[in-house]
């Protein structure tokens, strides 16, 4: 057991010097240890990004680091720093990250232009958690880089010392909050990238050893949080925020590129696969990961890749700040995820836990085809929901949000938080209930079923059976439904106000053949009690567990009440943490890495073989 010393500054320089001489041939010589495979991937990534032509700091950084198109890169950086329309929180951390990584290669004129950007640009702080992380990371590093400067030298009229102090305070507070009551924009395949990249940048360049270590610990925490729900590049389970494109095609999410870089999965290079990269969002944040001195701890790598045993993993997160129409500022979010070698079933408890982009539950399965997921939702929207989280006028917000999150009011949208949706999951079975008020804007529920399923059968028993390779799913709709054919999926739609489904998932390792899975599932039929004041389902799973779930009431498992309040911050075979403790324990069964955010320490030890 011992403290981990993390002084990496010298190592960064050595890595950069070495890059210019690395060739594909030499990469092939590197062997097959996890470390060498990571080295191959990061060099491969830098090589790929260095061939980009799109304007951006990552393109510049990759070209300069690899020595490719240096003049072009310098001209691009000149353009980025001359364009007065640019600014904001992402610009801020990317600009200072590029400066700090490559300042030895930059002419004085460009160094001065980057400095001037922090005097003349508007670095908007934003209104989401990831915005603030980016803003304060950028400001912290900029204030550290140019200390002792007066208020007039900064865009916000604050001195270097004032900016540094404010940034340090907020970042430390955010890290502690995340490690004690949970992240607000938690487990987001879309937004993961804009948390991990600032943390890695902060780790690389914070001079204060305590801040450097806390950034490293937070990067560890974010990656371990992902790893525990990771399956072959997919970020599984419920998500606070996700773009619809990433929900219906999980490997197209930016988080998948981080999985490729650090976990080595999926095996395919996602940017080469048009089915996983249908849009470009400047998503090369992983370049900073590839250039960083941060190294993924081995224990997290094993958490991400060891799927030899199925396990239940639960978490507590927090709702984004509720500024009105709520009793608590940050109510807890309860996550339940069941992970296997072949699939994951995961859920949040339901209700409004995040505005706009919530993804409450799904099955995600290992597949070499895209759109490898099944889920249902209620497409809820309301100005009041938005006004819980945003200060603008509630009657105006839905229209305003629709301007940039284009699908918010769309009845066909694939992301939504809904007060009319609740879940009850036990291992690989879930009951999802919908009690939709008559005044709701949309009165139906939708389900996503990919068209590329190998089989989809509407059985006379009332079950819908699906097979994707060796993964099986059975869905029991509680009310009549219809199928609507769309480009890549079948849209399952049901329009009753008191509604829901029961779902079981399995695979050949667990259930043998698809036929035997179907036979086992058909033995049981969900019993629905529905009246004006009641919506209850009783169901006995194919494994014999009795689940009883009343919307707005109790969740009973084999007669015992499931009490979410007993949830820890993390609870599973790989991660343990008591809420409020600030101590996160990561283990692969042989090794332990303990992150203590209250003491800002990392400890590692091996477990006794006894």
């Amino acid at each position: 057991m011992g403290e981990v010393s993390t002084s990496m500054a010298g190592r960064v320089l050595l890595v950069l010097i070495a890059l210019g001489s690395v060739s594909i041939h030499s990469m092939a010589q590197m062997g097959s240890s996890p470390e060498s495979r990571f080295e191959q991937r990061r060099l491969r990534l830098m090589d790929v990004v260095s061939q980009e032509r799109d304007r951006g700091f990552f393109t510049v950084a990759a070209k300069l680091a690899t020595g490719r198109d240096k003049e072009f890169a310098l001209a691009m950086l000149d353009s980025l720093t001359s364009d007065e329309s640019m600014g904001g929180m992402f610009y801020s951390y990317m600009a200072i990250g590029t400066y700090l990584r490559l300042k030895d290669q930059l002419p004085d004129t460009l160094l001065h232009k980057i400095r001037r950007a922090y005097r003349e640009r508007t670095m908007y702080r934003g209104d989401t958690e990831n915005h603030w992380v980016a803003y304060y990371t950028g400001l912290y590093l900029a204030a550290q880089t140019w200390p002792n400067e007066e208020r007039s030298q900064w865009f916000n009229g604050k001195s270097s010392a004032e900016n540094f102090k404010e940034s340090e305070e907020w970042l430390s507070r955010w890290m502690t909050t995340t490690a004690t009551i949970g992240q607000g924009e938690f487990d987001s395949p879309t937004y993961f990238t804009v948390f991990i990249t600032p943390m890695i940048t902060l780790f690389d360049f914070a001079k204060d050893p305590v801040m450097k270590r806390k950034a490293q610990m937070t990067a560890d925490l974010l990656l371990a949080d992902f790893a525990a729900e990771h399956l072959d590049g997919n970020y599984c389970g419920g998500h606070s925020r996700d773009y619809p494109e990433d929900i219906i095609n999980p490997l197209s999410a930016p988080a998948a590129l981080w999985a490729w870089l650090y976990f080595g999965e999926p095996k395919v290079e996602l940017w080469q696969e048009s089915r996983y990269r249908p849009r470009y969002r400047g998503g090369w944040e992983t370049l900073f990961g590839a250039m960083s001195s941060y190294r993924l701890p081995d224990v997290i790598y094993r958490i991400a890749t060891d799927r030899s045993k199925a396990y239940v993993h639960t978490e507590t997160k927090r709702v984004r700040n509720i500024i009105r129409f709520g009793r608590e500022k940050n109510p807890p979010v309860y996550k339940y995820t069941y992970m296997t070698h072949d699939y994951a079933l995961g859920s949040l408890q339901g209700g409004i836990l995040q505005p706009i982009q919530q993804h409450t539950w799904d099955v995600t399965y290992r597949s070499d085809k895209p759109n490898n997921t099944i889920f249902t939702l209620h497409p809820f929207y309301s100005g009041k929901e938005l006004a819980m989280f945003f200060p603008e006028e509630q009657k105006f917000l839905a229209d305003d949000v629709d301007r940039y999150h284009i699908v918010y009011t769309d009845p066909r949208k694939w992301n939504s938080s809904s007060p009319y949706e609740q879940t009850f999951q036990h291992k690989n079975a879930i009951i999802v209930l919908y009690d939709i008020y008559p005044e709701a804007n949309h009165k139906h529920i939708d389900g996503f079923f990919p068209k590329n399923l190998d089989e989809r059968i509407d059985d006379s028993s009332g079950w819908i059976f699906c097979r994707a390779g060796s993964v099986y799913a059975a869905v029991f709709p509680l009310r009549p439904y219809e199928w609507i054919e769309e480009k890549i999926n079948w849209r399952w739609r049901s329009a009753d106000l008191k509604n829901g489904i029961v779902l079981e998932v399995g695979c050949s390792d667990e259930d043998g053949t698809f036929e035997s899975f179907k036979k086992n599932v058909i033995q049981s039929k969900p019993a629905l009690n529905s009246s004006k004041d009641d919506l209850t389902v009783n169901y006995k799973t194919r494994r014999g567990d009795a689940m009883k779930f009343t919307f707005g009431g109790k969740r009973l498992l084999n007669g015992k009440t499931v009490d979410f309040r007993a949830y820890k911050l993390f609870n599973g075979p790989f991660i343990q943490s008591e809420r409020g403790s600030g101590v996160i324990t990561l283990t692969d069964g042989n090794n332990v890495r303990m992150l203590n955010f209250k003491k800002a320490t990392i400890k590692e030890w091996q477990l006794s073989k006894n």
């Binding site: 208020r151 500024i323 006028e393 301007r403």
Partner: protein, 302 residues
């Protein structure tokens, strides 16, 4: 000088990408951008009697001491989502920020800020007014009705309209105990005793979401409302009755409304996504004035 806060909506600002503060010194004939060129979510601006300009923004409270050419964010991470900033006319270094997290006060020109939320059950505060007669007397518009403080915000007490969302609060410029509030769903309430008792005043008001209230200094019976969906309403009898005045208004979501102090028949209405409209006949007719498609969250004039 008239000061206006304009915010182009986040996408689609095709014709004019500039956001932030626009100032007119010729009665709204021309508008000039001041200060910030990037997006900072500016909601409201007003100037103190010392000439310093304060802005309420998502980034916090901003202050300019040079007429809007340069700005300082006076607040730290603790202060965000600032919806209004009100400056004490008698002590221009004292200002109150109405925010989604309650009221924050500075007494030294923004060098330091203190949270002042004692007494609020729900601290979401949309607006605040400093009593022109007694600077320590404040009224706050909250999600849970109107709150009153007699000690500069140290302690707040319920003052009525409990349980209802209050969007704006205003004091009549010449009648000292006369106050008005606009609510989310319940129209207008009037208090004639300094905010202690409130009476609904919605006769003729068909749109009950009221974002802004303006009072005519030269004619105490003339009032204007900016509403959601109904555009502008005017009262000529001190709020006893209201008439909709929307002719020519291209956008009926009016979030801000002011009169020119030098000529109260000239009225400006700031809309959400429709820019500024101007009337020169007390609201009978409106014409588009400036800032096409802009979200005009706040207007202020002196």
């Amino acid at each position: 000088m008239s000061v206006l806060n304009s915010r182009k909506h986040r996408l689609g600002a095709r014709d004019n990408p500039t956001v932030g503060l626009f100032v007119s010194t010729d009665g709204g004939t021309t508008w000039n951008h001041k200060g910030w060129t990037g997006y900072i979510r500016i909601f409201y601006t007003e100037a103190g009697t010392d000439g310093n300009i304060w802005s309420a923004c998502g980034n916090g409270v901003l202050r300019s001491t040079d007429g809007g050419n340069s700005w300082r964010i006076t607040t730290g991470w603790q202060v965000t989502e600032v919806l209004k900033i009100k400056v004490d006319a008698r002590a221009p270094g004292t200002a109150y920020a109405a925010t989604a997290y309650g009221v924050f006060k500075t007494e030294n020109g923004g060098e330091t800020w203190q949270e002042h939320n004692r007494g609020f059950l729900k601290p979401f505060v949309s607006d605040i007014v400093i009593d022109k007669q007694q600077s320590a007397r404040l009224l706050a518009a909250t999600e849970d009705g109107v709150y009153l403080s007699s000690d500069g915000g140290t302690v707040w007490h319920r003052a009525g309209i409990d349980g209802r969302g209050v969007r704006t609060v205003a004091q009549h410029p010449t009648i000292k105990d006369l106050f008005f509030v606009g609510t989310e769903d319940d129209g207008v309430f009037i208090s004639r005793d300094g905010g202690k008792n409130w009476t609904a005043a919605n006769n003729g008001l068909k749109h009950l979401t009221v974002y802004s209230i303006a009072c005519d200094r030269s004619n105490p019976d003339v009032l204007y409302l900016g509403t959601h969906g109904g555009g502008v309403y005017r009262s000529s009898d001190g709020g006893k009755s209201w008439q909709q005045k929307a002719e020519g208004l291209g956008n009926l979501v009016v979030h801000s409304i002011v009169m020119l102090p030098s000529n109260s028949s000239v009225v400006f209405a700031g809309t959400l996504n429709g820019g500024i409209f101007k009337s020169t006949d007390g609201g009978d007719h409106w014409n588009f004035n400036s800032q096409e498609e802009a979200q005009v969250w706040g207007l202020w004039a002196r």
